[in-house]
Amino acid sequence: MTALTLRVAAKEPLTPLVTRFRFEHPEGARLPLFSGGAHVVVEMTDGNQLRRNAYSLISDPNDGSGYEIAVRREDAGRGGSRFMHGRVAAGDLIRVGAPVNLFSLDLRARKHLMIAGGIGVTPFLAQIRQLDRLGQPYELRYAARSRAEAAGLRLLPRSPRVHVHISDEGGRMDLGGLLAGQPLGTHVYTCGPEGLIAAVEETAARLRWPRAALHSEAFLAPPPGRPFTVRLARSGITIEVGPHESLLEAIEAAGVDAPWLCRGGACGQCETAVLSCRGEIEHHDHWLDAGDRASRTKIMPCVSRFAGEELILDR
Protein backbone atom coordinates (compact mmCIF):
# COMPACT_ATOMS: atom_id res chain seq x y z
CA MET A 1 0.00 0.00 0.00
CA THR A 2 1.39 3.39 -0.92
CA ALA A 3 1.02 5.65 2.07
CA LEU A 4 1.68 9.39 2.30
CA THR A 5 2.97 11.21 5.33
CA LEU A 6 0.54 14.07 5.89
CA ARG A 7 0.12 16.79 8.45
CA VAL A 8 -2.98 17.06 10.63
CA ALA A 9 -4.14 20.51 9.52
CA ALA A 10 -7.29 20.68 11.63
CA LYS A 11 -9.05 18.72 14.36
CA GLU A 12 -12.54 19.84 15.22
CA PRO A 13 -15.09 18.17 17.52
CA LEU A 14 -18.48 18.00 15.80
CA THR A 15 -20.38 16.24 18.60
CA PRO A 16 -19.21 14.72 21.89
CA LEU A 17 -18.42 11.49 19.99
CA VAL A 18 -17.44 12.60 16.49
CA THR A 19 -14.38 14.61 15.49
CA ARG A 20 -13.43 15.89 12.08
CA PHE A 21 -9.79 15.71 10.93
CA ARG A 22 -8.20 17.43 7.97
CA PHE A 23 -4.92 16.18 6.52
CA GLU A 24 -2.70 18.17 4.16
CA HIS A 25 0.63 17.56 2.52
CA PRO A 26 3.41 19.07 4.71
CA GLU A 27 4.86 20.92 1.68
CA GLY A 28 1.47 21.88 0.33
CA ALA A 29 1.62 19.40 -2.58
CA ARG A 30 -1.62 18.28 -4.20
CA LEU A 31 -3.05 14.96 -3.04
CA PRO A 32 -4.44 12.37 -5.46
CA LEU A 33 -8.10 13.02 -6.28
CA PHE A 34 -10.66 10.31 -5.55
CA SER A 35 -14.29 9.44 -6.19
CA GLY A 36 -17.19 9.72 -3.76
CA GLY A 37 -17.38 6.74 -1.41
CA ALA A 38 -13.60 6.22 -1.24
CA HIS A 39 -11.84 5.57 2.05
CA VAL A 40 -8.30 5.95 3.31
CA VAL A 41 -6.48 3.79 5.81
CA VAL A 42 -4.90 5.82 8.60
CA GLU A 43 -1.86 4.37 10.38
CA MET A 44 -1.62 4.88 14.12
CA THR A 45 1.57 4.03 15.93
CA ASP A 46 0.70 3.50 19.56
CA GLY A 47 3.83 2.45 21.44
CA ASN A 48 4.97 -0.65 19.59
CA GLN A 49 1.51 -1.40 18.24
CA LEU A 50 0.63 -0.32 14.69
CA ARG A 51 -3.07 0.06 14.05
CA ARG A 52 -4.59 0.79 10.68
CA ASN A 53 -8.20 1.96 10.50
CA ALA A 54 -10.21 2.76 7.38
CA TYR A 55 -12.24 5.98 7.23
CA SER A 56 -14.46 7.31 4.44
CA LEU A 57 -13.31 10.58 2.92
CA ILE A 58 -15.86 13.34 3.51
CA SER A 59 -14.21 16.18 1.59
CA ASP A 60 -14.74 17.17 -2.03
CA PRO A 61 -13.37 14.36 -4.26
CA ASN A 62 -12.18 16.99 -6.73
CA ASP A 63 -10.19 18.97 -4.16
CA GLY A 64 -6.59 17.86 -3.88
CA SER A 65 -5.68 20.43 -1.21
CA GLY A 66 -6.50 18.00 1.61
CA TYR A 67 -8.38 14.96 2.82
CA GLU A 68 -11.02 15.10 5.54
CA ILE A 69 -12.48 12.31 7.67
CA ALA A 70 -14.94 12.17 10.56
CA VAL A 71 -14.08 9.72 13.33
CA ARG A 72 -16.62 8.43 15.81
CA ARG A 73 -15.11 7.40 19.14
CA GLU A 74 -15.93 3.75 19.80
CA ASP A 75 -15.25 3.23 23.48
CA ALA A 76 -15.77 -0.51 23.19
CA GLY A 77 -13.54 -0.80 20.12
CA ARG A 78 -9.89 -1.88 19.71
CA GLY A 79 -8.67 1.60 20.48
CA GLY A 80 -8.02 3.14 17.04
CA SER A 81 -10.76 5.75 17.29
CA ARG A 82 -9.82 6.52 20.93
CA PHE A 83 -6.26 7.07 19.74
CA MET A 84 -7.43 9.46 17.01
CA HIS A 85 -9.54 11.41 19.48
CA GLY A 86 -7.12 11.48 22.39
CA ARG A 87 -3.62 11.33 21.00
CA VAL A 88 -3.62 12.89 17.56
CA ALA A 89 -3.31 16.69 17.55
CA ALA A 90 -3.23 19.40 14.92
CA GLY A 91 0.32 19.73 13.55
CA ASP A 92 1.16 16.02 13.98
CA LEU A 93 2.45 13.97 11.06
CA ILE A 94 0.45 10.87 10.28
CA ARG A 95 0.63 8.15 7.62
CA VAL A 96 -2.43 7.99 5.36
CA GLY A 97 -2.88 5.47 2.54
CA ALA A 98 -3.99 6.33 -0.97
CA PRO A 99 -7.79 6.47 -1.43
CA VAL A 100 -9.54 3.23 -2.39
CA ASN A 101 -13.19 3.10 -3.39
CA LEU A 102 -15.25 0.03 -2.53
CA PHE A 103 -18.53 1.96 -2.40
CA SER A 104 -18.69 3.90 -5.62
CA LEU A 105 -21.72 5.41 -7.31
CA ASP A 106 -23.24 3.65 -10.30
CA LEU A 107 -23.29 6.63 -12.63
CA ARG A 108 -25.71 4.90 -15.00
CA ALA A 109 -28.45 5.45 -12.41
CA ARG A 110 -31.24 7.89 -13.26
CA LYS A 111 -31.38 8.90 -9.61
CA HIS A 112 -29.29 8.13 -6.53
CA LEU A 113 -31.13 7.48 -3.27
CA MET A 114 -28.77 7.50 -0.30
CA ILE A 115 -29.77 6.17 3.10
CA ALA A 116 -27.42 6.98 5.96
CA GLY A 117 -27.60 5.79 9.55
CA GLY A 118 -25.53 7.75 12.08
CA ILE A 119 -21.83 7.99 11.22
CA GLY A 120 -22.70 6.08 8.01
CA VAL A 121 -23.35 9.49 6.49
CA THR A 122 -19.61 9.95 5.83
CA PRO A 123 -19.19 8.40 2.33
CA PHE A 124 -22.26 10.30 1.11
CA LEU A 125 -20.72 13.66 2.02
CA ALA A 126 -18.17 13.18 -0.76
CA GLN A 127 -20.66 11.54 -3.11
CA ILE A 128 -23.14 14.42 -3.05
CA ARG A 129 -20.40 16.84 -4.01
CA GLN A 130 -19.53 14.61 -6.94
CA LEU A 131 -23.20 14.39 -7.96
CA ASP A 132 -23.66 18.15 -7.62
CA ARG A 133 -20.78 18.62 -10.01
CA LEU A 134 -22.15 16.03 -12.46
CA GLY A 135 -25.65 17.48 -12.20
CA GLN A 136 -27.14 14.06 -11.43
CA PRO A 137 -30.33 13.81 -9.32
CA TYR A 138 -30.08 12.46 -5.79
CA GLU A 139 -31.96 12.29 -2.52
CA LEU A 140 -30.18 11.80 0.80
CA ARG A 141 -31.98 10.44 3.87
CA TYR A 142 -29.99 10.79 7.07
CA ALA A 143 -31.21 9.05 10.21
CA ALA A 144 -29.76 9.70 13.65
CA ARG A 145 -30.88 8.93 17.17
CA SER A 146 -30.71 12.41 18.62
CA ARG A 147 -29.82 15.88 17.45
CA ALA A 148 -26.88 16.02 19.87
CA GLU A 149 -25.37 12.86 18.35
CA ALA A 150 -26.02 13.79 14.74
CA ALA A 151 -22.63 14.89 13.43
CA GLY A 152 -24.12 14.92 9.96
CA LEU A 153 -26.09 18.04 10.84
CA ARG A 154 -22.80 19.93 10.97
CA LEU A 155 -21.52 18.47 7.70
CA LEU A 156 -24.52 18.25 5.37
CA PRO A 157 -25.53 21.14 3.15
CA ARG A 158 -28.97 22.67 3.60
CA SER A 159 -30.75 21.43 0.52
CA PRO A 160 -34.20 20.21 -0.49
CA ARG A 161 -32.45 16.97 -1.50
CA VAL A 162 -31.26 16.29 2.04
CA HIS A 163 -33.76 15.00 4.61
CA VAL A 164 -32.98 14.46 8.28
CA HIS A 165 -34.80 11.92 10.46
CA ILE A 166 -34.19 12.22 14.21
CA SER A 167 -35.75 9.21 15.91
CA ASP A 168 -35.84 10.89 19.37
CA GLU A 169 -38.11 13.49 17.84
CA GLY A 170 -40.35 10.88 16.25
CA GLY A 171 -38.90 11.47 12.79
CA ARG A 172 -38.36 7.83 11.90
CA MET A 173 -37.82 7.00 8.27
CA ASP A 174 -40.66 5.20 6.44
CA LEU A 175 -38.56 2.84 4.33
CA GLY A 176 -41.57 1.20 2.69
CA GLY A 177 -42.99 4.50 1.50
CA LEU A 178 -39.58 5.76 0.46
CA LEU A 179 -38.66 2.73 -1.66
CA ALA A 180 -42.13 2.34 -3.16
CA GLY A 181 -42.07 5.84 -4.62
CA GLN A 182 -38.80 5.91 -6.55
CA PRO A 183 -38.68 6.56 -10.31
CA LEU A 184 -37.39 3.90 -12.69
CA GLY A 185 -33.62 3.72 -12.83
CA THR A 186 -33.07 4.71 -9.18
CA HIS A 187 -30.17 3.08 -7.35
CA VAL A 188 -30.20 2.93 -3.57
CA TYR A 189 -27.07 3.16 -1.41
CA THR A 190 -27.14 2.37 2.29
CA CYS A 191 -24.41 3.00 4.82
CA GLY A 192 -24.87 2.52 8.52
CA PRO A 193 -25.50 -0.16 11.11
CA GLU A 194 -26.17 -3.69 9.86
CA GLY A 195 -29.79 -3.47 11.02
CA LEU A 196 -30.43 -0.54 8.71
CA ILE A 197 -28.78 -2.27 5.75
CA ALA A 198 -30.82 -5.42 6.40
CA ALA A 199 -34.04 -3.39 6.68
CA VAL A 200 -33.40 -1.66 3.35
CA GLU A 201 -32.59 -5.00 1.70
CA GLU A 202 -35.73 -6.66 3.04
CA THR A 203 -37.97 -3.77 2.05
CA ALA A 204 -36.42 -3.59 -1.42
CA ALA A 205 -36.82 -7.35 -1.90
CA ARG A 206 -40.47 -7.17 -0.82
CA LEU A 207 -41.05 -4.38 -3.35
CA ARG A 208 -39.25 -6.42 -6.05
CA TRP A 209 -36.35 -4.04 -6.55
CA PRO A 210 -33.65 -5.71 -8.67
CA ARG A 211 -30.59 -6.57 -6.59
CA ALA A 212 -28.31 -4.79 -9.03
CA ALA A 213 -29.85 -1.47 -7.96
CA LEU A 214 -28.89 -1.99 -4.29
CA HIS A 215 -25.53 -0.99 -2.83
CA SER A 216 -24.40 -0.96 0.76
CA GLU A 217 -21.41 -0.49 2.99
CA ALA A 218 -21.41 -1.56 6.60
CA PHE A 219 -18.88 0.28 8.69
CA LEU A 220 -17.25 -2.67 10.22
CA ALA A 221 -14.34 -2.16 12.55
CA PRO A 222 -12.44 -5.22 13.72
CA PRO A 223 -14.05 -6.15 17.01
CA PRO A 224 -11.95 -6.72 20.10
CA GLY A 225 -12.22 -10.13 21.73
CA ARG A 226 -10.45 -12.74 23.79
CA PRO A 227 -6.79 -13.39 23.05
CA PHE A 228 -5.92 -16.46 20.97
CA THR A 229 -2.94 -18.25 19.43
CA VAL A 230 -2.38 -18.90 15.71
CA ARG A 231 0.23 -20.92 13.87
CA LEU A 232 1.44 -19.39 10.58
CA ALA A 233 2.59 -22.49 8.71
CA ARG A 234 4.49 -20.93 5.82
CA SER A 235 6.33 -18.46 8.04
CA GLY A 236 6.99 -21.20 10.58
CA ILE A 237 5.98 -19.11 13.59
CA THR A 238 3.27 -19.07 16.23
CA ILE A 239 1.76 -15.73 17.22
CA GLU A 240 -0.48 -14.42 19.97
CA VAL A 241 -3.40 -12.15 19.07
CA GLY A 242 -4.13 -9.72 21.89
CA PRO A 243 -7.64 -8.70 22.97
CA HIS A 244 -7.34 -5.26 21.37
CA GLU A 245 -5.70 -6.17 18.10
CA SER A 246 -7.00 -7.92 15.04
CA LEU A 247 -5.53 -11.13 13.66
CA LEU A 248 -4.25 -9.14 10.66
CA GLU A 249 -2.55 -6.62 12.95
CA ALA A 250 -0.93 -9.44 14.91
CA ILE A 251 0.35 -11.04 11.67
CA GLU A 252 1.79 -7.67 10.60
CA ALA A 253 3.32 -7.08 14.04
CA ALA A 254 5.16 -10.40 13.66
CA GLY A 255 6.78 -9.02 10.52
CA VAL A 256 4.81 -11.24 8.12
CA ASP A 257 3.51 -9.62 4.93
CA ALA A 258 -0.22 -10.15 4.39
CA PRO A 259 -2.55 -8.70 1.76
CA TRP A 260 -5.39 -6.30 2.67
CA LEU A 261 -7.42 -3.48 1.21
CA CYS A 262 -10.47 -2.49 3.29
CA ARG A 263 -9.56 -3.89 6.71
CA GLY A 264 -13.29 -4.13 7.31
CA GLY A 265 -14.28 -7.59 6.09
CA ALA A 266 -15.79 -6.37 2.82
CA CYS A 267 -13.28 -6.57 -0.04
CA GLY A 268 -12.03 -10.16 0.09
CA GLN A 269 -8.39 -9.17 -0.29
CA CYS A 270 -7.14 -10.68 2.97
CA GLU A 271 -8.75 -14.12 2.52
CA THR A 272 -6.45 -16.76 3.99
CA ALA A 273 -6.61 -20.55 3.79
CA VAL A 274 -7.11 -22.43 7.05
CA LEU A 275 -4.99 -25.60 7.17
CA SER A 276 -6.27 -26.89 10.48
CA CYS A 277 -8.97 -25.71 12.82
CA ARG A 278 -9.77 -27.29 16.16
CA GLY A 279 -12.20 -24.82 17.62
CA GLU A 280 -14.52 -22.13 16.29
CA ILE A 281 -13.66 -19.36 13.86
CA GLU A 282 -15.57 -16.20 14.81
CA HIS A 283 -16.39 -14.91 11.34
CA HIS A 284 -17.15 -11.17 11.39
CA ASP A 285 -16.78 -10.45 7.67
CA HIS A 286 -19.26 -9.82 4.85
CA TRP A 287 -17.18 -11.76 2.36
CA LEU A 288 -17.35 -15.50 3.03
CA ASP A 289 -20.64 -17.23 2.32
CA ALA A 290 -22.34 -19.85 4.47
CA GLY A 291 -20.65 -22.68 2.53
CA ASP A 292 -17.18 -21.21 3.08
CA ARG A 293 -17.91 -20.83 6.77
CA ALA A 294 -19.25 -24.35 7.17
CA SER A 295 -16.18 -25.80 5.44
CA ARG A 296 -13.87 -24.05 7.98
CA THR A 297 -11.19 -23.68 5.31
CA LYS A 298 -11.07 -19.87 5.02
CA ILE A 299 -10.73 -16.88 7.33
CA MET A 300 -10.67 -13.09 6.86
CA PRO A 301 -7.92 -11.99 9.28
CA CYS A 302 -8.84 -8.29 9.12
CA VAL A 303 -11.95 -8.78 11.27
CA SER A 304 -12.34 -12.44 12.26
CA ARG A 305 -11.10 -14.16 15.41
CA PHE A 306 -10.80 -17.65 16.83
CA ALA A 307 -11.58 -19.55 20.00
CA GLY A 308 -10.35 -23.09 20.58
CA GLU A 309 -7.32 -25.31 20.69
CA GLU A 310 -5.54 -24.91 17.39
CA LEU A 311 -5.72 -22.73 14.29
CA ILE A 312 -3.13 -23.14 11.52
CA LEU A 313 -3.12 -20.71 8.59
CA ASP A 314 -1.42 -20.96 5.21
CA ARG A 315 0.56 -17.76 5.72
Binding site: R110, L179, A180, G181, Q182, P183, L184, G185, T186, L207, R208, W209, P210, R211, A212, A213
Partner: protein, 200 residues
Protein backbone atom coordinates in the same frame (compact mmCIF):
# COMPACT_ATOMS: atom_id res chain seq x y z
CA UNK B 1 -48.19 -23.52 -28.85
CA UNK B 2 -45.37 -24.16 -26.33
CA UNK B 3 -42.41 -21.86 -25.69
CA UNK B 4 -39.92 -21.84 -28.59
CA UNK B 5 -36.58 -23.60 -28.15
CA UNK B 6 -33.79 -21.83 -29.99
CA UNK B 7 -30.58 -23.49 -31.11
CA UNK B 8 -27.37 -22.26 -29.41
CA UNK B 9 -25.82 -19.16 -30.95
CA UNK B 10 -23.43 -16.31 -30.14
CA UNK B 11 -23.74 -15.04 -26.56
CA UNK B 12 -25.11 -11.67 -27.63
CA UNK B 13 -28.14 -13.29 -29.26
CA UNK B 14 -31.11 -12.67 -26.95
CA UNK B 15 -32.62 -15.65 -25.18
CA UNK B 16 -36.10 -15.86 -23.73
CA UNK B 17 -35.97 -17.98 -20.60
CA UNK B 18 -39.71 -17.91 -19.90
CA UNK B 19 -41.95 -15.98 -17.53
CA UNK B 20 -41.70 -16.47 -13.78
CA UNK B 21 -44.15 -14.73 -11.45
CA UNK B 22 -42.72 -11.95 -9.32
CA UNK B 23 -45.90 -11.89 -7.25
CA UNK B 24 -48.29 -9.00 -6.88
CA UNK B 25 -45.82 -6.23 -7.83
CA UNK B 26 -47.25 -3.61 -10.21
CA UNK B 27 -46.61 -4.83 -13.74
CA UNK B 28 -47.18 -4.46 -17.43
CA UNK B 29 -47.75 -7.57 -19.55
CA UNK B 30 -47.38 -7.17 -23.30
CA UNK B 31 -48.06 -10.01 -25.73
CA UNK B 32 -48.78 -10.60 -29.37
CA UNK B 33 -50.55 -13.56 -31.05
CA UNK B 34 -49.60 -16.86 -29.34
CA UNK B 35 -47.79 -14.91 -26.62
CA UNK B 36 -51.22 -14.70 -24.95
CA UNK B 37 -50.85 -18.36 -24.00
CA UNK B 38 -47.65 -17.61 -22.09
CA UNK B 39 -49.54 -15.00 -20.02
CA UNK B 40 -52.43 -17.41 -19.43
CA UNK B 41 -49.96 -20.09 -18.26
CA UNK B 42 -48.21 -17.55 -16.01
CA UNK B 43 -51.47 -16.56 -14.31
CA UNK B 44 -52.42 -20.21 -13.91
CA UNK B 45 -49.15 -20.85 -12.04
CA UNK B 46 -49.62 -17.78 -9.78
CA UNK B 47 -52.95 -15.91 -9.87
CA UNK B 48 -51.49 -13.18 -7.58
CA UNK B 49 -49.37 -11.96 -10.49
CA UNK B 50 -52.53 -10.29 -11.84
CA UNK B 51 -53.24 -8.19 -8.73
CA UNK B 52 -51.66 -5.02 -10.08
CA UNK B 53 -51.14 -6.04 -13.71
CA UNK B 54 -51.95 -4.12 -16.86
CA UNK B 55 -52.23 -6.28 -20.00
CA UNK B 56 -51.69 -4.98 -23.52
CA UNK B 57 -52.39 -7.46 -26.32
CA UNK B 58 -51.84 -7.35 -30.07
CA UNK B 59 -53.85 -10.33 -31.41
CA UNK B 60 -52.42 -10.29 -34.97
CA UNK B 61 -55.20 -12.66 -36.00
CA UNK B 62 -54.85 -15.05 -33.08
CA UNK B 63 -57.98 -16.07 -31.15
CA UNK B 64 -56.91 -15.47 -27.53
CA UNK B 65 -58.33 -12.00 -26.82
CA UNK B 66 -61.45 -13.19 -24.99
CA UNK B 67 -59.51 -15.61 -22.78
CA UNK B 68 -56.99 -12.90 -21.87
CA UNK B 69 -59.62 -10.37 -20.87
CA UNK B 70 -61.49 -13.08 -18.90
CA UNK B 71 -58.41 -13.41 -16.64
CA UNK B 72 -59.64 -10.30 -14.81
CA UNK B 73 -56.60 -8.00 -14.83
CA UNK B 74 -57.06 -4.45 -13.50
CA UNK B 75 -56.60 -3.18 -17.05
CA UNK B 76 -56.65 -5.15 -20.30
CA UNK B 77 -56.31 -3.52 -23.70
CA UNK B 78 -56.26 -4.87 -27.22
CA UNK B 79 -54.50 -2.97 -29.99
CA UNK B 80 -54.47 -3.56 -33.76
CA UNK B 81 -50.66 -3.30 -33.89
CA UNK B 82 -47.72 -2.79 -31.58
CA UNK B 83 -47.19 0.70 -32.99
CA UNK B 84 -50.76 1.55 -32.02
CA UNK B 85 -50.15 0.22 -28.51
CA UNK B 86 -46.88 2.07 -27.92
CA UNK B 87 -48.37 5.32 -26.55
CA UNK B 88 -50.21 3.29 -23.91
CA UNK B 89 -47.05 1.31 -23.08
CA UNK B 90 -45.00 4.49 -22.81
CA UNK B 91 -47.59 6.07 -20.51
CA UNK B 92 -47.54 3.02 -18.24
CA UNK B 93 -43.73 3.10 -18.07
CA UNK B 94 -43.73 6.83 -17.35
CA UNK B 95 -45.87 6.26 -14.26
CA UNK B 96 -43.95 3.22 -13.05
CA UNK B 97 -41.85 3.20 -9.90
CA UNK B 98 -38.94 0.95 -8.93
CA UNK B 99 -40.18 -2.58 -8.29
CA UNK B 100 -42.30 -2.48 -11.47
CA UNK B 101 -42.17 -5.68 -13.56
CA UNK B 102 -42.44 -6.13 -17.31
CA UNK B 103 -43.60 -9.47 -18.75
CA UNK B 104 -43.18 -9.86 -22.53
CA UNK B 105 -44.49 -12.78 -24.55
CA UNK B 106 -44.74 -13.57 -28.24
CA UNK B 107 -42.55 -12.73 -31.21
CA UNK B 108 -38.98 -11.46 -31.10
CA UNK B 109 -40.06 -8.21 -32.73
CA UNK B 110 -42.53 -7.44 -29.94
CA UNK B 111 -40.18 -8.51 -27.15
CA UNK B 112 -37.29 -6.49 -28.57
CA UNK B 113 -39.25 -3.33 -29.24
CA UNK B 114 -40.99 -3.16 -25.88
CA UNK B 115 -37.81 -4.08 -23.99
CA UNK B 116 -35.98 -1.25 -25.79
CA UNK B 117 -38.76 1.20 -24.81
CA UNK B 118 -38.60 0.03 -21.21
CA UNK B 119 -34.82 0.33 -20.95
CA UNK B 120 -34.92 3.83 -22.37
CA UNK B 121 -37.55 4.69 -19.74
CA UNK B 122 -35.06 3.56 -17.07
CA UNK B 123 -36.48 0.14 -16.22
CA UNK B 124 -33.64 -2.12 -15.01
CA UNK B 125 -32.95 -5.17 -17.20
CA UNK B 126 -33.59 -7.46 -14.23
CA UNK B 127 -37.19 -6.27 -14.17
CA UNK B 128 -37.82 -7.47 -17.74
CA UNK B 129 -38.78 -11.08 -18.44
CA UNK B 130 -39.68 -12.65 -21.72
CA UNK B 131 -40.99 -15.85 -23.27
CA UNK B 132 -40.96 -16.57 -26.97
CA UNK B 133 -44.13 -18.00 -28.50
CA UNK B 134 -45.40 -18.20 -32.05
CA UNK B 135 -43.73 -16.98 -35.19
CA UNK B 136 -39.94 -16.92 -35.27
CA UNK B 137 -39.91 -14.14 -37.86
CA UNK B 138 -37.42 -11.43 -36.93
CA UNK B 139 -37.31 -7.67 -36.82
CA UNK B 140 -34.24 -6.78 -38.91
CA UNK B 141 -32.25 -3.59 -39.31
CA UNK B 142 -30.38 -3.10 -42.58
CA UNK B 143 -26.86 -2.08 -41.54
CA UNK B 144 -26.52 -0.16 -44.83
CA UNK B 145 -29.62 2.07 -45.00
CA UNK B 146 -30.64 1.61 -41.30
CA UNK B 147 -34.21 0.83 -42.34
CA UNK B 148 -36.15 -1.71 -40.27
CA UNK B 149 -37.94 -4.61 -41.94
CA UNK B 150 -40.48 -6.36 -39.71
CA UNK B 151 -41.43 -10.05 -39.73
CA UNK B 152 -38.52 -11.38 -41.74
CA UNK B 153 -39.03 -15.14 -42.17
CA UNK B 154 -36.39 -16.01 -44.78
CA UNK B 155 -32.63 -15.77 -45.09
CA UNK B 156 -31.47 -13.95 -47.13
CA UNK B 157 -34.23 -11.38 -47.53
CA UNK B 158 -34.70 -8.13 -49.41
CA UNK B 159 -34.49 -4.90 -47.39
CA UNK B 160 -37.90 -3.19 -47.57
CA UNK B 161 -36.17 0.20 -47.72
CA UNK B 162 -33.09 0.04 -49.96
CA UNK B 163 -33.68 -3.23 -51.79
CA UNK B 164 -30.32 -4.83 -50.96
CA UNK B 165 -30.36 -8.57 -50.37
CA UNK B 166 -29.45 -9.07 -46.71
CA UNK B 167 -28.06 -11.98 -44.77
CA UNK B 168 -29.86 -12.57 -41.42
CA UNK B 169 -27.27 -12.27 -38.64
CA UNK B 170 -27.66 -13.30 -35.00
CA UNK B 171 -26.05 -9.98 -34.02
CA UNK B 172 -28.61 -7.99 -32.13
CA UNK B 173 -29.08 -4.39 -31.02
CA UNK B 174 -30.78 -4.05 -27.66
CA UNK B 175 -31.26 -0.35 -28.25
CA UNK B 176 -33.21 -0.97 -31.46
CA UNK B 177 -34.67 -4.32 -30.50
CA UNK B 178 -33.61 -5.67 -33.91
CA UNK B 179 -31.18 -8.09 -35.54
CA UNK B 180 -28.66 -6.88 -38.10
CA UNK B 181 -29.00 -7.61 -41.80
CA UNK B 182 -25.81 -7.45 -43.88
CA UNK B 183 -25.54 -7.32 -47.69
CA UNK B 184 -25.09 -10.89 -48.89
CA UNK B 185 -23.56 -10.14 -52.31
CA UNK B 186 -21.35 -7.13 -51.63
CA UNK B 187 -18.21 -8.93 -52.84
CA UNK B 188 -19.91 -10.91 -55.61
CA UNK B 189 -22.71 -8.70 -56.94
CA UNK B 190 -25.68 -10.68 -58.17
CA UNK B 191 -24.55 -13.99 -56.68
CA UNK B 192 -27.19 -14.58 -54.02
CA UNK B 193 -27.66 -17.92 -52.21
CA UNK B 194 -31.11 -19.51 -52.38
CA UNK B 195 -33.46 -18.13 -49.78
CA UNK B 196 -34.33 -20.49 -46.89
CA UNK B 197 -36.84 -20.34 -44.11
CA UNK B 198 -35.34 -19.07 -40.83
CA UNK B 199 -35.07 -21.78 -38.19
CA UNK B 200 -35.26 -21.23 -34.44
Amino acid sequence: MPATKFSPSITSRPVYPGLVSRGAAPSLMVADAEGAEALIDLVERDPAVLDAAHIVYVPAGAPFGARLSALGARLCHEAPSLSAALPRIRAALAEARMGFQLYLAGTEGLIGRVAAEAVSAGLPLDAIQSEHRGSIARRMQCVHCKGITEDVATDPFVCAHCGLTLFVRDHYSRRLGAFQGVCVDAETPGIVPASQEIRP
